[in-house]
């Protein structure tokens, strides 16, 4: 029997895909890790649902925390709930409307059958997340592909992670049932309403304003630079260039023209010939010396010289920044980066 538990995309003008924490163990086969561009907002949305239900039903909602959610890039999407469901919205503020009424970002809502939820283009930021209790998938029979539901644009041709989302696409979710909830609690979910209100740690504060300093772990190559060249890189102001995407962020020099003195000496560059495995946040440095930062949908191998890797918590911040915004770099070490990441995950998982 066909399930009727879905949200239908009525209109879409931006980009949207299904994302989760990513395909963590298949880079050896050539698969991109992919996953939510901004883990902070993605995990936040799922946690809102998980926490809310733990409160009212004392149920174990640990599985909710990494459920696949809808990642919306630059808003502009309208969905209709075919049956009642619990959702949460987080990330770039899209002035979301529930049945024509403006609702708050970073909150959890109960939707009823027929409810329409509409995301406008955000004034700042890029990615917004719509999480649903139990997660969403593009086809009700869709199984996780290599342990993830993440959709990678370059891998859609393999036809294993569902279709590209468009108007008319349905996002299926499991039956919204609270086994341990009381009748009164169940009754309370029979109207459309906001379920969470109070947020002590304003989640927006996680993100920088118009400029970001990316802390990175230096590569062996960077450590071979003469101090003057290291300082030159650290003193350079870059801007995010328009051809940045979920795969990589390309940076351009803020103050053109390109300086005559190269940061990376030819002799050191010539030592980087063969392709090697690359990881999240690596700073590639092509001959034009305009850095490329590898993001979630990166390829698994790369041939450009690498100056280091940006700490992951800063990458979640970077993922929400737009072309034209400023970037500088500063050094950190892996111990500090690990501490930050561990503290970050403690908040969510």
């Amino acid at each position: 029997m066909m399930t009727t538990n879905y949200l239908e995309i009525l209109a879409i003008n931006g980009k949207a895909s299904i994302q989760d924490i990513g395909r963590l163990n298949t880079q050896h086969l050539g698969f991109s890790v992919s996953g939510a561009a901004d883990e902070h907002a993605y995990l936040y949305a799922n946690k809102l649902i998980a926490d809310h239900y733990r409160k009212i039903a004392a149920s174990d909602e640990s599985t909710q925390k990494k459920c696949p959610a809808l990642e919306i890039t630059l808003g502009q999407i309208t969905l209709r709930a075919n049956t009642a469901c619990t959702v949460a919205i987080a990330g770039a503020d899209c002035q979301v409307k529930l049945n024509e009424t403006l609702i708050s970002n970073w909150q959890c809502y109960q939707l009823q059958a027929g409810d329409i939820i509409d995301f406008a283009m955000p004034k700042s930021g890029l990615h917004s997340y719509l999480a649903v209790m139990g997660g969403v998938k593009g086809d009700e029979k869709q199984q996780a592909w290599l342990s993830s539901f993440a959709q990678t644009e370059n891998e859609m041709a393999l036809n294993v992670i569902g279709n590209k989302l468009k108007a008319g696409s349905k996002l299926f979710f499991p039956k919204q049932e609270l086994l341990t909830a009381t009748t009164a609690q169940k009754q309370s979910l029979k109207s459309s309403k906001q379920l969470t209100f109070f947020e002590p740690n304003a989640p927006e504060l996680f993100y920088p304003q118009s400029q970001i300093t990316l802390r990175f772990i230096a590569s062996t190559l960077f450590l071979q630079f003469p101090p003057k060249k290291q300082s030159a890189f650290l003193a350079t102001n870059y801007v995010i260039s328009p051809d940045s995407n979920r795969m990589g962020y390309r940076l351009a020099l803020k103050n053109r023209p390109i300086p005559k003195n190269k940061i990376l000496a030819d002799k050191l560059r010539e030592n980087c010939v063969l392709s090697k495995p690359v990881t999240y946040g690596m700073i590639q440095f092509p001959t034009n010396e305009q850095p490329i930062i590898l993001m979630k949908e990166r390829q698994t191998m790369g041939g450009y010289p690498v100056l280091g890797s940006i700490m992951q918590t800063d990458l979640f911040r970077l993922s929400q920044m737009r072309p034209g915004q400023g970037v500088t770099f500063s050094l950190t070490n892996y111990q500090q980066a690990q501490q930050q990441l561990q503290a970050f995950y403690k908040k969510f998982i």
């Binding site: 294993v160 590569s219 495995p277 698994t300 992951q312 070490n333 690990q338």
Partner: protein, 250 residues
């Protein structure tokens, strides 16, 4: 200027901490079957012995990236265990009695049929001109070499094969094509490869294969070529190509 250390552990490889959850092992930068054998032997030993800690590992010509659960083990402890296991692995490699079945499997030579670009739709002519040889000689050189698969990456099932005969060495295209057809057989520098699906690409296309580069079966991804295997190309006619392509589509 920084507190990061480069751990120099043995004369064969160095270990660099490249992320919160990843260390990169680097050997001398060269295309060498012997060195690569050591790398994949170590990879397999690490995956086996540290299975509860390692999330994924990716091998290439001279590197091995190890992704691990940094919440479960300190970087220093991981590096120590990797070093210990590498010493044991070196010992095993020097003892030929220990001939595992996986090593025998690597001796198999995968045959890839290629309809070479004899109608000159792609880059065969340009490659021949650049190398100053005939198109027939390009085909002969390309198909008479036995390659080794050094890395999987770029896209699922894309396998870096080396070494191409020196006479066929051409630099990558100055600007990549936005669309390379599925099954394109291409060359660049010392390498050759098959594009598993239509994708962008900057290598020179000298032919096309009807052979699928992977299968997706029962939720599993099975690449046609695995890292460490031997590969050879052989020429087929257009008629054979079309027949094989049709059979593959069934």
């Amino acid at each position: 200027m920084t507190t990061q250390k480069n751990h120099q552990l043995s004369p064969t490889f160095s270990i660099e901490v490249v992320a919160e959850n990843a260390v990169l092992l680097s050997w001398p930068q060269q295309i060498s079957a012997k060195q690569h054998n050591n790398i994949i032997a170590l990879q397999s030993a690490l995956n086996q012995q540290l299975s509860s800690l390692i999330v994924d590992s990716v091998a290439s010509y001279h590197c091995l990236m190890i992704y691990y659960q940094f919440q479960l083990i300190s970087t220093e402890a991981l590096i120590e265990r990797v070093t210990t296991i590498s010493t044991d692995t070196n010992y095993a490699l020097n003892n030929p009695d220990d001939n595992s079945s996986s090593e025998q499997q690597l001796q198999v030579c995968i045959q890839i049929p290629v309809y070479y670009d004899t109608q000159l739709q792609w880059d065969l002519q340009k490659v021949a001109q650049h190398c100053d040889i005939s198109t027939e000689e390009v085909i002969k050189q390309h198909s008479s070499t036995i390659y080794r698969s050094y890395a999987l990456g770029f896209t699922p099932g894309f396998c870096y094969l080396a070494s191409l005969p020196k006479v066929l060495s051409v630099p990558r295209m100055s600007s990549p094509r936005t669309k390379v057809p599925k099954g394109a057989v291409a060359i660049a520098e010392q390498q050759t490869a098959v594009y598993p699906n239509e994708s962008p690409g900057g290598w020179h296309i000298i032919g096309q294969t009807p052979l699928a580069m992977y299968q997706c079966k029962n939720g599993k991804f099975i690449p046609t070529i695995t890292v460490g295997q031997r590969v050879q190309f052989y020429a087929i006619s257009k008629t054979e190509f079309l027949a094989l392509e049709q059979r593959a589509a069934l």
